[in-house]
């Protein structure tokens, strides 16, 4: 009896396998991630909003390069394998950042001089959305009027203004964020960036016209789907989007610890200005 059912399946398979294997660039995984997110309804904070409180972190290689990239040697020879670049599927939806031609050239120049130019190496604030996937945890402290994003790297912090929403008074590294709730999703609209941060260690950059709209949608008790739409007419030919899951730290006593890296880069930045011992 088993064999007949098996034969039926075989016939169906022959039809199905005829389907062309042309791989759709949008990863099926991301589609799967979104579909389960809609179904999930997060527990509520006392003031009735989806509860995003917690310590979160991404598990991808986006901080090395937000586009797909093979593994590669460390930019600093002596770090050997510990400094080497892991491969990554990339987080840019559609695979490619729609740079304007001159901008793609600049990105390649940035990449060539990344040890000198990447602001992360100098312990400068990471900017947005790099602060999300920089590879260190950040904590969400969610209150009614303000939602705080507190990052371990260099103590970078973002205030999401949920009540009085204003224009950015001045340019800044972490931008000026106004937030709102759309059903289960926290939507954060950020402008007022300076043009100094990078999106990753591969030289992907933006101008001071950058406008980022982020969406935090809980997809399970311990994961959030994070999406960011990037718009910057001076650098990109059209808006583009990235998405990835955020994973919650569940270990007991989990906490954001200090990574006050200014001290770690002073020799790098100012060492050449040391007083030379009298010859």
């Amino acid at each position: 009896m088993m064999r007949n059912r098996f034969l039926v399946v075989l016939i169906v398979a022959a039809v199905v396998s005829g389907v062309s294997l042309a791989v759709d660039r949008v990863t099926a995984q991301q589609a799967a991630v979104q579909s389960t997110a809609q179904a999930y309804r997060a527990p509520r904070t006392p003031d009735g909003k989806p509860n995003l409180n917690g310590i979160w972190q991404t598990m991808n290689t986006a901080n090395w390069n937000i586009e797909a990239h093979p593994a590669g040697p460390s930019p600093v020879r002596d770090l050997g394998a510990s400094g080497a670049v892991p491969a990554g599927l990339g987080i840019v939806e559609g695979g490619e950042i729609p740079y304007l031609p001159a901008a793609r050239k600049k990105q390649q120049e940035n990449y060539a001089n990344r040890l000198k130019l990447d602001p992360e190496i100098k312990c400068y604030l990471p900017g947005v959305p790099r602060s999300t996937y920089q590879g260190m945890p950040f904590q969400i402290i969610q209150s009614t009027k303000h939602i705080m994003l507190i990052h371990e790297f260099a103590g970078a912090v973002r205030t999401i203004y949920m009540a009085e929403q204003t224009e950015a008074p001045a340019d800044s590294w972490m931008g000026w964020s106004n937030g709102r709730w759309e059903g289960e999703t926290l939507v954060v609209d950020t402008k007022g960036f300076n043009d100094l941060s990078w999106f990753d260690r591969a030289g992907n950059f933006h101008s001071d016209a950058l406008h980022v709209v982020e969406r935090f949608t809980p997809r399970s008790a311990e994961t959030i789907t994070y999406e960011a739409t990037i718009e910057d007419p001076k650098v990109f030919s059209r808006p583009w989007k990235m998405s990835m899951p955020l994973y919650k730290h569940v270990e007991r006593n989990a906490q954001i610890l200090e990574f006050r890296c200014v001290e770690f880069v002073e020799d790098l930045l100012y060492g050449h200005l040391r007083k030379q011992p009298a010859k």
Partner: protein, 138 residues
């Protein structure tokens, strides 16, 4: 980060952690007390950054040659609370800046006084007016 006022606190007896005892003359280590100058120029950009903001101005000399200068001012944060934004001081504003040039002789200075073309002092927390009275701007 020259917190001159912090030193003020030390003087006022409110002893902070040792870290706070900023040698007041740190600024004099960066800028040369023997190179006082007065710059008259038009504002190219006011970098509202910390720990100190920087006024980028173009200074035209007698025969019209323009040199870009960078002049150090105070943290913009309190002004922002008083309603100042990056458009409060429009690009092109005429400024007369009294200050001291950087020790390394580059086109950098600290602005001990920022005065507008009409003689009014810039900002001064709104009491002496300024480009736009921040109190009104709020």
């Amino acid at each position: 980060m020259r917190m001159k006022l912090a030193v003020g606190i030390a003087a006022a007896g409110l002893l902070l952690g040792v870290a706070e005892l900023h040698a007041h003359h740190a600024f004099a280590a960066e800028f040369d007390v023997n190179r006082p100058l007065t710059l008259k120029g038009t504002l190219v950009k006011w970098e509202m950054v910390n720990p100190h903001s920087w006024f980028h101005i173009d200074v035209k000399d007698k025969d019209g040659k323009v040199t870009p200068w960078m002049v150090e001012g105070g943290s913009p944060n309190q002004l922002i609370r008083m309603g100042v934004t990056k458009t409060t001081v429009p690009v092109g504003t005429e400024l007369v800046i009294e200050g001291y040039q950087a020790k390394d002789g580059t086109m950098k200075a600290v602005g001990r006084n920022f005065v507008l073309a009409d003689g009014k002092r810039l900002f001064l927390g709104g009491s002496a007016g300024g480009v736009s009275d921040p109190a009104k701007a709020k």
